[in-house]
């Protein structure tokens, strides 16, 4: 358990209690002092009257003796009256009451009862002495012996004569009266001095109590102040008070942040550490006390801008502060993260838009166009270009340049002479003039420059480089470099994909050996021609004695013969003519807009060119052609059979010739498709036609033209 005394309580209100205690002390002491004075005054009241009456007793005692002597001598006197006054006065002095007046002397006096043992004893003694004296006086006057008189006051006067005894008693009475007066005076003195002592004591006591309480109050306040100070100073929050004359208070955390002393920050000093763009807001806070929430940038000890989330509290009306209190917290990390996220989001949005655009570009040219538009989005003014290698990957070609700005015109020729391509990562050059800058940046028409080079690659294979230049010494910002990197990565991916796709397309539609269309492609194109109803001639070609050629010289020679034949055909045919390797050494030629007789001329030209060709290591060979045209049949199967018939006739007739096929009068079954496609030999027993069937992609409807 924590003891109460040890708990940390900066907000305890002990100070208020101490102040109350001080006031109570003063009130108590004031009341005591007043009460003392009152009681002392009350005690001293009537003291003068008592003293006067007590003093009068002395005179009366003397007078009584004289009057007794006068009366004793037979003269006119009234000792009895004096004795009566003496007795009444003595009684009044002792117990209070009325002291009678003395004729011609004074008036009746009311007295309080005597207080204090000593005084009462003295007044009692006086009363006894007065009584003895009166008895003695009467005895003198009646001439009785004094020895029989009472001695109530313990006087030992038995052996004195009555008159002397009377005088002694009068003297004793007088004496005790005098001493009673002294006792009264003494007690008054004592009262006064006691009063003074008490008052002084009370004064000192009150002062001491108040001083101690005040000291306790100060100690408490100081402790509380220390608590608050340590609370305020150990806080990482930044506290600044701005008043009319500028900065009036800075917490220790501010001092630590900016690395200056307090006095350097007071007045206008603080503002110098605030970002110039934020000073206006700060001025507003000073003059208007708001806005309540603001963000400030403060330069720290190492010259870096720190972002602060600040809160302004307007305490200008508070006369103890007369300023605006700014509580701030360093939010730099958060702000940086936000900025990074924003940039990331912008990049991401750029990236996703770019990726969508590239997805729609299915050809290289379309890709280059997207790249140019993306360049504009990245920067309107920065020169940029995309250099891409052709399929041989040996030469770099400029395929895209930023439309708004001139091309940076990098003189690089080969991918492998580009440093960025070699490194495989983006390279940023601050200046073309430094030692370690790329040499290709020097001596550009625009003079010295900065540059960014981002390699473009696909699946680890370099395709080219995305290149941009900027002002010398001021390379493009990181965000732009990030965008360029995104652009380069996505362009590389897309170009790679497009190229792979084109290659696949080509592979699918052409014959790998000769580069001619394959059978399927021709069928597709021929179907289009038939659908349009355009006239055409159709021929089937076959190399003569190809099996012997293969057997004698090997397959490679056979392949070369096939390629040569294809080249010769392509050299003769028009652009819109179709030629396909049907399979093996058999080819199909479609000649749009020609009839079978015109076709023969073209085919004979092919044969002629083949004869003139220099096949190099390939032995000379010939080819036979069977031909027909679209007027000779109603379906492609019929036309193929007719052309095939022509070819058969040509072969029969001794080869190396062109023969027009005669349409068959036999009714054709629709199974001709199966004949063409199935591995089973057709009726005409022409196995070579069927050897050429493309088994890779069996397509039963390949010849379906209806």
């Amino acid at each position: 358990m924590i003891r109460r005394g040890q708990a940390f309580r900066p907000f305890s209100d002990g100070g208020r209690r101490t102040i109350v205690a001080i006031f109570l002390t003063f009130a108590l002491i004031g009341a005591l002092s007043a009460a003392l004075s009152l009681s002392a005054t009350a005690r001293s009241k009537n003291r003068a009257t008592v003293l006067q009456v007590a003093d009068r007793q002395r005179t009366l005692a003397e007078r009584y003796v004289k009057e007794v002597l006068l009366a004793h001598a037979g003269l006119q006197a009234d000792p009895a009256s004096t004795a009566s006054i003496l007795a009444s006065s003595a009684h009044a002095l002792l117990d209070g009451g009325t002291a009678p007046s003395v004729n011609g002397d004074d008036d009746e006096t009311t007295l309080p009862a005597a207080g204090g043992t000593v005084l009462r004893n003295q007044f009692e003694q006086e009363s006894r002495l007065v009584s003895d004296m009166a008895a003695n006086g009467e005895a003198v006057l009646s001439r009785r012996p004094a020895s029989t008189l009472p001695a109530t006051a313990h006087e030992h006067t038995g052996n004195l004569d009555p008159i002397q005894r009377l005088r002694v008693l009068a003297a004793l009475t007088s004496n005790v009266s005098l001493n009673a007066g002294r006792t009264i005076a003494r007690s008054t003195d004592q009262n006064v001095s006691r009063l003074i002592t008490m008052q002084v004591g009370l004064g000192i006591g009150g002062l001491v109590i108040s001083l101690l309480l005040a000291w306790a109050l100060i100690a408490t306040t100081r402790r509380q102040t220390a608590h608050f100070r340590s609370l305020a100073q150990s806080s990482h929050d930044l506290v600044v008070v701005l008043g009319a004359g500028g900065c009036r208070y800075v917490s220790r955390s501010v001092v630590a942040l900016v690395g200056r002393t307090e006095s350097e920050l007071f007045g206008g000093g603080f503002e110098e550490f605030v970002h110039p763009d934020d000073r206006e807001v700060l001025e507003g806070v000073m003059t208007h006390g708001g806005p309540p929430e603001l963000s400030l940038r403060l330069r720290n000890a190492s010259g870096e801008w720190r972002h602060l989330d600040a809160r302004a509290t307007d305490l200008r009306a508070d006369r103890r502060l007369r300023g605006v209190v700014i509580n701030a917290r360093d939010a730099t990390d958060r702000v940086r993260l936000e900025q990074e996220l924003t940039a990331q989001a912008r990049r991401d949005s750029f990236g996703s838009k770019l990726s969508e655009a590239l997805e729609m570009a299915d050809e290289e040219d379309a890709v280059f166009e997207v790249v140019e538009r993306a360049m504009v989005e990245t920067s309107q003014v920065t020169p940029m270009e995309l250099l891409l290698s052709d399929s041989s990957r040996a030469n770099l070609k400029r395929v895209s340049t930023s439309p708004g700005a001139a091309a940076p015109a990098c003189p690089v020729k080969s991918p492998y002479s580009c440093v960025a391509v070699r490194r495989g990562s983006a390279v940023v050059f601050d200046s073309s003039e430094v030692l370690n800058a790329c040499p290709k940046l020097r001596d550009r028409p625009g003079g010295p420059c900065s540059a960014v080079c981002v390699p473009v690659s696909f699946m680890g294979r370099s395709l080219g480089v995305l290149h941009t230049t900027g002002p010398d010494g001021a390379p493009p910002p990181a965000e732009q470099v990030a965008r360029l990197t995104t652009l380069a990565a996505q362009t590389g991916a897309r170009i790679g994909t497009v190229r792979a796709f084109e290659r696949t397309q080509l592979q699918a539609s052409t014959d790998g050996l000769t580069g001619l269309d394959n059978r399927r492609t021709l069928q597709k194109q021929l179907r289009g021609i038939i659908k349009d109803g355009d006239p055409f001639a159709l021929a089937i070609a076959d190399l003569d004695h190809f099996k012997q050629l293969n057997d004698a010289h090997g397959h490679e020679t056979g392949d070369r013969a096939l390629r040569l034949f294809a080249q010769v055909m392509q050299g003769v045919l028009r652009d819109n003519d179709l030629v396909a390797r049907w399979g093996g050494e058999e080819f199909v030629i479609v000649l749009p807009q020609l009839d079978r007789f015109q076709a023969v001329i073209v085919l004979d030209r092919i044969r002629g060119n083949l004869a003139k060709a220099h096949p190099g290591e390939t032995p000379r060979f010939t080819a036979s052609f069977g031909v027909t045209d679209s007027t000779q049949g109603e379906s492609l199967e019929q036309l193929m059979l007719t052309a095939d018939g022509g070819l058969y006739a040509a072969k029969q007739a001794g080869r190396d010739r062109t023969t027009i096929g005669e349409p068959s009068t036999e009714p054709r079954s629709t199974t001709v498709i199966d004949d063409l496609e199935s591995p089973t030999p057709p009726r005409r027993g022409r196995p070579y036609l069927h050897e050429a069937v493309d088994d890779e992609e069996p397509n039963p409807s390949g010849l379906e033209i209806r």
Partner: protein, 150 residues
């Protein structure tokens, strides 16, 4: 100084409450007689109107511890005499102090009722009278004879 403000306050109040008492006690410092060394102490009681005192004492330094029983004030005069009857003044009821002055080894001025005072005197062998010579007190009975022996 440790402790919370409350404890401090409480301590302070305790100190301050006792302070006036201490001050008063100090102010009323005792005046009780101290026993003197090498002196006999003789008790003398005065009162209205008699003196009670030893009738015989050894010669030498004596402290007469004089208590006034009251109610009146009383003085004490010690007179060495040949004749215990002392001469009176012309008024007929006070002792003629001038006549006995040369044989008066010591005296105390009138003291208040209830007080106790010491009279330090050197007594030589002889006859003495102790008396109070306030008006009428001697004749009223306030005298006592004393014989000092060797």
């Amino acid at each position: 100084m440790g402790g919370s403000p409350q404890i401090l306050l409480r301590k302070t109040l305790v100190v301050l409450a006792t302070a006036p008492v201490v001050l008063l006690v100090a102010a009323c410092g005792s005046t009780a007689p101290v026993k003197p060394a090498n002196a006999a102490i003789a008790a003398v009681t005065e009162g209205d109107f008699a003196i009670t005192a030893p009738t015989q004492l050894k010669a030498g330094n004596v402290v007469l511890r004089v208590h006034n029983n009251g109610p009146d004030e009383h003085e004490l005069i010690v007179v060495r005499v040949r004749d215990p009857r002392l001469p009176l003044r012309a008024d007929g009821f006070t002792v003629d102090e001038e006549a006995i002055q040369r044989s008066e080894p010591g005296s105390l001025v009138p003291g208040q009722p209830g007080s106790t005072r010491d009279l330090r005197i050197n007594l030589k062998p002889g006859r003495y009278v102790l008396l109070c010579n306030m008006a009428g007190h001697y004749l009223g009975g306030m005298h006592s004879n004393l014989v000092v022996t060797q």
